[in-house]
Every structure is written in structure tokens, then in C-alpha cells.
């Protein structure tokens, strides 16, 4: 049990000392992409080779989370603690491992499979949320503690009042990373103000956007940071119970979080009277079951209560009437992962990163027709051009760029003429898209925008919960209309109808799903109208 800040630091120091002797570290990424290419097997082979060569005192193998460059999976990095030099290897296969072990044994660098870590993909990023990803072992709470983990929580419990925490978060300008961009400090304050015996903190790990994996990577790579963020939210708002709602499709994330909670409980970092304070906090995991609408706040809550995930009208807001009717804070995974760095380094520091209206960084899942597909974290205000050409390495096969889709089924497509847009909540909204949770899908000249719009509408159609008519019926009608354009059988009247109906669905639907479902249609109509015109038949 750890009962105080001193004990926590003592544990961190012991861990650091124990590892001092072990100079070399081989970090094998076992995040989703690397794992699906057999990286766990690579780790086992390395483990065996270390034992066989009897060098376990000098070198250890560590399973770590996503390092970002998933396109080059599986990735293994070799770090020397003394020289602090780290070498990254890409697309590692079983056959390469011998040479890798040899290089550890006699410092002879492996010449091929070398991944340049000074390249723009890494250099142009700003890592705050992902600072531990690919470095710490998510299964080992002590590793997290050795990297100053839970120190912020313990310091806060000792030295700060709840309202001071809220003030700091407010000052930092942190906005919700789940899509809406609501100010986190204000959200916390509204719950803190309400008098209630029971309050809840919920972490939204539903990640419904079909083409995004930021939250998955975070939960898998650094689960303790999310728990620490939740506990801090609990302290600030006066809540002693937290839930993490995770998609059942993310079994590794569920496994990592479950283990993390267990370890934290065992050390008394979660539980009753944390660090002898009168603050108690417990966390439970709740599984989603594959319904996009359950990412929406009110639907998520009713789903945790064991019901069909139908959203309801707001108000009452969650701050007054949330989970089990109690005041509730709902935050996205990435939002909560920002709490520790803000409290550690201060609101001023956080504000100095990003743009005036959107401070800090944003993690994006860069996919589609792009060279360096993967997970990237950049300061708000980074241009799309930097993201696509500098970090992303451009479009493969010498093809031309056509559009980038942000915000998933609720977002829009942005054409080449707007590539110098500095990405933040406001700028994306201005051009008809949204920040969303961070999915960015790049499309080359061969992509068909009408088909893409149809794809998203079809998605919303099958994900509509059916409670309100505009969404239930409207998405079906819109899909059928888009079908006509795809098959080049539309009429001029259909184009008008498509536009009108899109606005009706947008304006009259009950929840965010329906209200934003027409966005992909409207934005492609705006920038790629000619493709719709081509779908109009002349006879």
C-alpha cells in the first residue's frame, strides 16, 4: 500500500535504481497494428534469446504500446539508458531478431530495417498525450510510477483544493477531445457546484468513428494515465465513482484497463481514502456492444444502466441528471489523458501550445491513401498540408491528393484548396467539417466523393437508434437518393431534394447522430458538386 507522496516517490526511486544496471532495453510494440503482425511472437523469441545468451542483467525486453508509425509495423526500438540513444527498427521479422540480439551483445548496429527517428513523421509532432506511449510497459504500474505516474494525483490531494484544480483546468483552455470541443473546466465546475451525495465520472472510450483508433491506442499504451485523470476529475468534482465505457471490439484495451485498475487498487492508489486523505475513488469498466449512437452522452448513460442505447432530449444536462439520475461528468479518453500534464506543468504552459481558441495538442489517426499511416499528435493549429505531406509523407503511388475527411460520419471532406487551413475546432467548423474525435482519412484522385457520402449515410442509417423520425426515416431516404447518384440515375429534382432533406434532418433530429449525419453530404456537395452533377442522368 502506498499511503503518501513520499512512499510513492520511494517506490519510483527503487524501480529506477533496479533498472539502472540493465542498460539496454528492447521495446517491442504490441499495440493493435503491430500485434496483428505477430509482434507478441517476436517478443517471446527475444525473451528466449536473452535468456539463452544469459544477458538478462544487461538487457531486457519490454512490451510497449503504440509508437505511432503503424504503417511500418511491427516496430521494435532499442534504447541504451546511459547514452540515451534509441534506434528504431521497422517491419521487423523473425529472421531479423538474431542480428538484433547480436547488435545488443556487441554494439554492432543493424544496418537494415532501420527507421529514421529524425524524419518529419516524428520531428513535426508534439507529444503530450502520447508521451509515454511506446516507452512504458502498460502492464506494469511501477513503470508508470517510475515515469512520475500518480505523482500529480498525490501532490494534488496534498496541496490543492478541488476548486483550485478546476480553476487550473479552466485556465488551460482544455476542450473536449470527443468531438464537441466543450470547455472541460466549465463542465467540471457545473458538476462540482451541484450538491449531491453521489456523483459520477465517466470516461467515454466508445470510439465510434469507424476509421479512427486514437482512444484505442491510448487505452492500450498508457491506461494508468487515464485512471489518474479520472481520479483527478473525481477529486475536483466531488465524485467517488468512475466508469470507463469501452467498446467490446477493443479486447486488448479492456484487458489493459482491467489490469491497471487491479494494480492501482492493490497499491491503494484507487480505493478508499487515497493517500490518507478523505478522498475515495473507484473505477469500473463497462463494455459497449457495438452501437455508434452509444458514444452520445445520454445514450451512453442509459447503456451503462443496462438499457437499449436510446438518447434523450437535453436538458436536463448530465451535470444535473446523469448516470442513475446523479450529477455526472462525461469526458473522452484523450481529454482525461490531458489532465495530468496540465496539472503537472501548469495551465500557462498548456496554453502556450496550440491556437488562441484551442490550446494543447490533438491526436489524429491518419489513414487512407497516405504514405505514413498511423497515429500522430500535433499542436492545434498545425496545417493540413503539414499533416499530409510532412508528417504523412504524401500520397503513395504518385497519385494526386483529392480530399481529406475529418470527423467521421459526422464530419466533412476538405478539398485541396483548403490545405493550408490551420486545424482547430473553429477553423474546421468554418469549412463545413468538424474536429470530431480525430479520424483523418486521406483520399487520392481516384476516390469517388458521392460514394463516400453514401458510405457514411448508409452507416448512419444502420446506426440510427430509430427513436426520432427525421433520423430514422431521413437517413433511409437520403441513402436511397445517394444510391441514385452513385448509379447515375438521379434527376435534377433529386439534387434539390437531397439538399433540402439534408437540412431537414440536420435541423430536426433529436441527437447529435441525426443532426450531423448530413454533414458528409453537404460538404461534398459544397466542394465536389460536379461529381453529383455527373450522377444526373440525361434521359
Amino acid at each position: 500500500m502506498i499511503n503518501s507522496l513520499e512512499e510513492l516517490e520511494a517506490l519510483a526511486n527503487t524501480k529506477r535504481c533496479n533498472e539502472q544496471n540493465c542498460q539496454e532495453e528492447l521495446r517491442v510494440c504490441v499495440g493493435s497494428s503491430c500485434a496483428s503482425l505477430g509482434s507478441e511472437n517476436l517478443k517471446e523469441i527475444l525473451d528466449a534469446a536473452i535468456k539463452e545468451n544469459d544477458i538478462s542483467d544487461a538487457c531486457r525486453v519490454k512490451a510497449v504500446g503504440c509508437n505511432g508509425l503503424c504503417a511500418k509495423a511491427p516496430l521494435i526500438s532499442h534504447c541504451n539508458r546511459a547514452t540515451k540513444i534509441s534506434i528504431l527498427y521497422e517491419e521487423v521479422e523473425e529472421a531479423d531478431l538474431d542480428e538484433l540480439i547480436q547488435s545488443v551483445l556487441n554494439a554492432a548496429p543493424v544496418t537494415h530495417k532501420h527507421c529514421d527517428i529524425t524524419q518529419d513523421f516524428f520531428a513535426a509532432q508534439t507529444k503530450i498525450v502520447l508521451e509515454n506511449a511506446g516507452i512504458i510497459d502498460p502492464d506494469d504500474i511501477e513503470d508508470y510510477i517510475a515515469h512520475d505516474g500518480y505523482k500529480t494525483l498525490f501532490e494534488t490531494l496534498e496541496n490543492k483544493l478541488p476548486n483550485e484544480v478546476i480553476e487550473e483546468i479552466k485556465k488551460s483552455g482544455l476542450r473536449g477531445r470527443g468531438g464537441g470541443g466543450f470547455y472541460t473546466g466549465l463542465k467540471w465546475e457545473s458538476v462540482a457546484k451541484v450538491q449531491s451525495e453521489q456523483k459520477y465520472i465517466i470516461c467515454n472510450g466508445d470510439e465510434g468513428d469507424p476509421g479512427a483508433f486514437m482512444d484505442r491506442a491510448l487505452m492500450e499504451a498508457d491506461p494508468h494515465r487515464i485512471l489518474e485523470g479520472m481520479a483527478l476529475a473525481g477529486y475536483a468534482c466531488g465524485a467517488d465513482k468512475g466508469y470507463i465505457y469501452v467498446r467490446a471490439e477493443y479486447p486488448i484495451a479492456v484487458e489493459k484497463l482491467t489490469r491497471a485498475i487491479k494494480q492501482a487498487k492493490k497499491l491503494g492508489i484507487l480505493g478508499e481514502n487515497i493517500a490518507h486523505s478523505n478522498f475515495s475513488f473507484n473505477v469500473e469498466i463497462r463494455l459497449g456492444a457495438g452501437a455508434f449512437v452509444c458514444g452520445e452522452a445520454t445514450a451512453l448513460i442509459t447503456s451503462i444502466e443496462g438499457n437499449r442505447g436510446n438518447p434523450r432530449q437535453k436538458p436536463p444536462h448530465l451535470s444535473d441528471y446523469g448516470l442513475f439520475g446523479q450529477p455526472t461528468v462525461l469526458n473522452n479518453v484523450e481529454t482525461l489523458a490531458n489532465i495530468v500534464p496540465i496539472l503537472k506543468r501548469g495551465a500557462q504552459w498548456f496554453k502556450s501550445i496550440g491556437t488562441a481558441s484551442s490550446s494543447g495538442t490533438k491526436v489524429f489517426a491518419l489513414t487512407g491513401h497516405i504514405q505514413n499511416s498511423g497515429l500522430v499528435e500535433v499542436a492545434m493549429g498545425t496545417t493540413l498540408r503539414t499533416l499530409i505531406y510532412k508528417i504523412g509523407g504524401g500520397i503513395p503511388h504518385g497519385k494526386k491528393f483529392k480530399a481529406i475527411q475529418t470527423g467521421g460520419p459526422s464530419g466533412g471532406c476538405i478539398p485541396e484548396s483548403l490545405l493550408d487551413l490551420e486545424v482547430d475546432y473553429e477553423s474546421l467548423k468554418k469549412v463545413g467539417s468538424i474536429m470530431g474525435s480525430g479520424g483523418m482519412i486521406v483520399m487520392d484522385e481516384d476516390a469517388n466523393m458521392v460514394e463516400l457520402a453514401r458510405f457514411f449515410m448508409d452507416f448512419c442509417k444502420s446506426e440510427s437508434c430509430g427513436k426520432c423520425t427525421p433520423c430514422r426515416v431521413g437517413t433511409v431516404q437520403l441513402t436511397e437518393l445517394l444510391d441514385k447518384f452513385v448509379h447515375k440515375k438521379a434527376t435534377k429534382k433529386d439534387l434539390e431534394l437531397l439538399q433540402n432533406l439534408s437540412h431537414v434532418v440536420k435541423d430536426t433530429s433529436l441527437c447529435g447522430l441525426g443532426q450531423s449525419a448530413p454533414n458528409p453530404v453537404l460538404s461534398t456537395l459544397k466542394y465536389f458538386e460536379n461529381e453529383y452533377l455527373e450522377g444526373i442522368s440525361n434521359d
Binding site: A73, P210, A248, G290, N307
Partner: protein, 161 residues
């Protein structure tokens, strides 16, 4: 496949145990359904009725929740299963063509199982390995960067296993 009685007693016991752990709590219905599906492979009427009785909920409620969520299956799966990811990243990279080629080859629609119960063809909304798009899960093992031909080849390998 072990869908018939006989072995079922044990599985009900297992389900009973996990319900007990959750305190037969109505609020934990989704957790209970997850563990039932894990135990039985799918959720049939009998199982749902059993859960309704034990949690003192109406059957309509349990059935309503089970059918709302895509993750729950009310029909048994085949011996093997292939899940084609139809998330945006995979779609852009031609996952729909892979799915169509499977549908044509095995003469079933997505969501169905072949008559010999050898293969269930399923789809998913993003399995979170978008950088490897297009992705297909063959018996839950993800394979990425597939062409339509490679996907078919992997499929045959799985079925011949």
C-alpha cells in the same frame, strides 16, 4: 458444435456464476449478455429467457437490449468465421470488394453462415488497425494490407485448416 443439451448444464452453471458475481443486477444486463455470448457462442431464446428470469426483468426487455446492439448474435456461428472490416479506412482501400468476392464465392450474404455451417461471414465497423487497411479477421486473427486475391487465399487457408 455443442449447441444441444447434454453439455449445456455446465454452461448454464457458468452463466449463473457470472450473474451472481454481478449481483443479478438489472443494470449489468449488457455485461451478463456479454458473458452469456462468450459461454454459448451466441444468444438463443432459451438463454435470454433464463437471463430474464434470473434478473427479474421482462423477457421483452432482455430481448430488446440483445437485439439493439450489433455485437450480440442471436444465431450460432459457423465453425470458422471471417470478419471483414468495413470502417472508413478499410472501405477506402477496397474492403467492399473483398466482401463482395466472399459473398459471391460462398453464395451467402454478410451476416449469414454457409449451409454446411463451415463459415460465417461477418462485417465490423473498424477494428482499430486502420493503418493496415483493408483488414479481415480470420477466426479473430487480424490480417491487413490485403488485396482481394490475398484475402481469398487466406480464407481458403483458414477453411482448409
Amino acid at each position: 458444435m455443442q449447441t444441444q443439451l447434454g453439455s449445456s448444464d455446465d454452461r448454464y452453471k457458468l452463466l449463473e456464476k457470472s450473474m451472481k458475481k454481478l449481483g443479478y443486477d438489472k443494470n449489468a444486463l449488457i455485461e451478463i449478455l456479454h458473458s452469456a455470448q462468450e459461454t454459448f457462442g451466441y444468444l438463443d431464446k432459451e438463454t435470454l429467457k433464463f437471463i430474464a428470469k434470473r434478473t427479474k426483468s421482462p423477457y421483452s426487455k432482455v430481448y430488446g437490449v440483445a437485439t439493439f446492439y450489433h455485437y450480440f448474435r442471436l444465431k450460432p456461428k459457423g465453425l470458422h468465421n471471417a470478419v471483414v472490416c468495413l470502417g472508413t479506412a478499410c472501405y477506402i482501400k477496397g474492403a467492399d470488394k473483398i466482401l463482395t468476392s466472399f459473398e459471391e464465392k460462398f453464395e451467402i450474404k454478410v451476416g449469414a453462415t454457409t449451409r454446411d455451417e463451415l463459415l460465417s461471414l461477418l462485417s465490423a465497423r473498424c477494428v482499430g488497425s486502420c493503418s493496415l487497411a483493408p483488414v479481415v479477421l480470420f477466426d479473430n486473427k487480424p490480417k491487413g494490407n490485403l488485396t482481394t486475391e490475398e484475402a481469398m487465399q487466406k480464407m481458403q487457408e483458414m477453411l482448409n485448416d
